[in-house]
Amino acid sequence: MSSSIIERLYASIALTRRVEEWIADIYKSDSIKSPVHLAIGQEYIAAAVIDHLKQSDYVCGTYRGHGVYLSKGGDLNSMMAELYGKETGCAKGRAGSMHLVEASKGVIGMSAVVGTGIPVAVGHALAIKQQRRNDVVVVFMGDGATEEGCFSESINFAALHKLPILFVVENNRLAIHEPLHKRWAADTLTERMATYGIPSKRFLEPDVLAIHQHSGTLIEAIRNGSGPAFIECNTHRWYEHVGPHEDYDQGYRSLEEGDSWRAQDVYLTLGEQLDSDVKARIDENIELRIQAAVEFAEQSPFPAPEELFNYVYA
């Protein structure tokens, strides 16, 4: 594994991790007046897959989308301003954390209605095909989202039309607080996807380099017309479903489980593989960017009330 890959992945994961840790901190001050769904502990999946994308490719995340947005090159300042509800936000303060978007970077607008982004992402893949472009789409979703009918409908359509899209399930085995066994008849999603005739693979461990390599191979094939593919990554959400706290004390899951995932924290393990000065440089740069973004967000103006009626119609 080349050290530049590890460097890139670390930088991407560290950026999301640190941004979200900052968000958790700031959140307690009530400056962010919008729900935040942190992906702390799960960042490596988006980072690994998105590392293979170019600017004109698309990604679609969910309301838990800071990492997807940042990994794809979404502007940190305008994301932070968006969380603060400022006019300089990526959606001019209309969206908040749950609906990040940055069209110029291929970040499809995210949705807070679970599952709805999946067919929208497939639609982008259809457009790519119709426009004879060389691009691909990667759509990220939770395990819960796969229970929505539109997920099955979307997979079938994408496979039928051999659309250039990679489906990535971040299976943290929770939907809010509900465990998988209360929602899935069988833990066989990947096998099921294979029945659509698309390459389907599951990663039980947070093996970021394996995910990176495999998704690279898939994306390359998709770019060359193979049609869609699917990966499922078991993972773990460190924080509460929504909000800035951990919540192992709430009894719906065990701290032991959390500890075992923390012991494999990709952020740390990758960081350890870097030269300490390389790592320090990356880390410092990240802190500076975040500080600047927070300052930018704080100093930006709120939208003026008179602007309420802007953007209802295009």
Binding site: I108, G109, P119, V120, G123, Q131
Partner: protein, 354 residues
Amino acid sequence: MSTPNTLRLIKYVDALREGAEQAMDADKSVFMMGLDIDDHKGIQGSTTGLVEKFGPERVFTTPLSEDAMTGVAIGAAMAGQRPIHVHIRMDFLMLCMNQLVNIAAKSHYMYGGTVQVPLVVRTMIGKSWGQGAQHSQGLHSMFAHVPGMKVVAPSNAYDAKGLTIQAVRDNNPVLIMEHRLLYGTEAYVPETPYTVEFGMARTLRSGDAITIVGVSNMVMESMRAAELLAEQGIECEVIDPVTISPLDFDAIEASVNRTGRLLVVDNGWLNCGFSAEVLARVAESDHIKQKIVMKRIGFAATTCPTTPSLEDAFYPNPKTIAMLAYQMVTGKQDWEPNSESCQLAYQSQFKGPF
């Protein structure tokens, strides 16, 4: 916009097809998708020939997956395409409500103006021959309720073509509500592409006794009612709103201010619907000083029954419209048009199967 040129008498169904065809000719980002649009029946002829002309990449059927297919159309629209998504019945839109209401209507606003959804949804209301509960609904009010959506309702072939082309050019989600019974009706339609502007009502008949606003095929029923009333010396002003949202309220307001009476004939249920909206706007209007006599008529407040004996009572028709208007104008209930004169030719053109 463009000047009408050679006019031909063509059918509503053909006008729909021609509008789409010319929109696709003009802009290669326009494509059409929807269950059964490429089969030999071609959505009762309204899509016939398009797959042959434009090929299966621009004209294709879908799986029975209305929800995801709507999301796909939305996504394609966001990425620069201009999809026309066809549904053979409006009732099936209930499966797409989430994508239409929560994504299509909201994206431009929610994403701070950075995203557009130039999506056209074509959808048809069924009527008679046992269409029944689930193939007959006029659900335009639900969509008009949602900011970000536009809803148009062509009542004739001219508007069918012009609104289709305008809908495709519009950068917002536009729902075209068509009516199965209108498919066979004819009007003079220009050969070349033209648009019908949104938010411009059309006054089809002038009169000073009462303003009748009819939606979709209720325009035809209202026109016949107006003829019957004219024989009684009552001159109705008949207005076709053409587009439900945006609504040209100015035209209605001006007319009502003249006639002092308003009857809205809707092609859907009344409760919390378009007919209520029109009455409410009149009631709120600062330009109307007099007390206006107002009534509404539309689908009966029931599920649509299949049996003809009940279905006949479910819908407004020239007789019930005329009698209600007569009563509003004269205050009397001493007149009933004879039933034959209330028959409308276009209604008997349709016969099962669908």
